[in-house]
């Protein structure tokens, strides 16, 4: 299958999930340099779930602000616009996974698939902290979304996906290594198309498209390499399940792209392990209401 054919399929899916309107509106407002915290607050406050999540995250140990944050405006001022944007995006993606959970029987556990995505997101953000990356939350979003193509394939190209899974399990291979040969397209390509449709930033789209081949990214090799490593770490730690039980190899060259030192690996993995359960609770607002 070629780009055009795949694009036709994706374009033809009329019920392809769209980004929730709250995040679309917030992105519009945030892209306007004249916007104030008040403008953003007005949009978010209409959405109860998002409000709860933002306050919960703002009060989490991740930021460890000295006093309790009780209003959305304070959270926006303290966290900053881009952090709020990334948070809302993560939150929307989480809902997207949750919403698509019940409708069809997944060939493997969807809860575990979400765990894998969260695991990669946390590992990626932690890598970002180790290398003092400007916006670690962006890496979190990239990690959360890196395998979104698999969700689309499961939901809308079900026959293909089942055929693939069966083969991957039987031959004990990494899904990525098989899909091109079996289906003619692969999950990073599908994911990239969704990212374009959602008009996500190029950086995010490249993290999705090149998380198995970081060197092929034109402008965001480092970010793609970070997701490549994060994917490997989450799989090595057996956090969640991505559709196969392989641990992809991170080459030394890809590792050096990330900017990490060899001695960082151990503490990085320990930190990922600790943060995983903590972050999961932050997002699961719905089940607690």
């Amino acid at each position: 299958m070629t780009l055009e054919e795949l694009k036709k399929i994706i374009d033809g899916i009329t019920d392809l999930p769209s980004l929730p309107s709250v995040i679309v509106k917030v992105m519009e407002v945030l892209n306007n340099p004249k916007s104030s915290a008040q403008d953003v607050k007005k949009i978010i406050e209409n959405d109860y779930i998002q409000t709860v999540r933002i306050l919960r995250v703002a009060n989490s140990s991740y930021y460890s602000f000295p006093q309790k944050i009780s209003t959305v405006t304070t959270a926006i001022v303290l966290l900053g616009f881009s952090e709020i944007k990334n948070l809302l995006l993560s939150s929307s993606v989480y809902d997207f996974f949750e919403k698509n959970k019940g409708e069809k029987q997944f060939v493997f556990s969807q809860t575990k698939f979400l765990d894998h995505s969260i695991g990669v997101a946390i590992a990626a953000r932690t890598i970002g902290e180790f290398i003092s990356y400007d916006e670690p939350e962006e890496l979190f979003v990239g990690g959360l979304l890196h395998d979104i193509g698999k969700v689309i394939m499961h939901q809308f190209m079900e026959e293909d996906f089942e055929k693939l899974i069966k083969n991957v399990i039987k031959t004990k291979s990494l899904m990525y290594k098989k899909e091109k040969r079996i289906l003619g397209y692969n999950h990073p390509e599908v994911g990239m198309m969704l990212a374009k449709k959602w008009k996500l930033a190029d950086k995010i789209s490249d993290m999705i498209a090149y998380h198995h081949r970081p060197f092929l990214s034109k402008n965001y090799k480092r970010e793609a390499a970070i997701i490549n490593l994060a994917d490997c770490i989450a799989r090595a730690l057996e956090i969640g399940y991505a559709g196969d039980d392989q641990v992809p190899i991170v080459t030394t060259k890809v590792f050096s792209l990330t900017g990490l030192k060899i001695r960082d690996i151990k503490p990085l993995m320990q930190e990922t392990e600790i943060k995983f359960s903590e972050t999961k609770t932050l997002f699961s607002v719905k089940s607690n209401l």
Partner: protein
């Protein structure tokens, strides 16, 4: 670069005309390869086609492949050694804590 159909990537272009034994052009240089082209070429028994790949992509692909092959054949990849070793340790601690 001459590749088989399985190796074609999205957005690839033909870098040379494909001609059948009678000299008729099956597909033209510069054409975006789609399923119709592939079907037609396969019908004529074509197995490999020339595609245009930007130099930078080509270089990255070659380097990546070389490195991966080297690390697999020699088994020397310090990064993976540490990751797998640390993972084993963390997982064993997990099962102790979890009871």
């Amino acid at each position: 670069m001459k590749v088989s159909f399985e190796e074609i990537n999205i957005g690839d272009l033909l870098s040379a005309d494909v001609i059948n034994p009678n000299g008729a052009i099956l597909a033209r240089k510069g054409e975006i390869i789609d399923s119709e082209t592939v079907r037609r070429l396969k019908l004529w028994g074509v197995t490999k086609i020339n595609i245009h790949v930007p130099k930078s992509v080509l270089k990255a692909k070659v380097e990546e492949k070389a490195e991966e092959t080297q690390e697999i054949t020699t088994g020397i990849n310090k990064v993976m050694d540490i990751i797998l070793h640390t993972a084993k340790k963390i997982k064993s601690q997990r099962s102790v804590k979890g009871g």
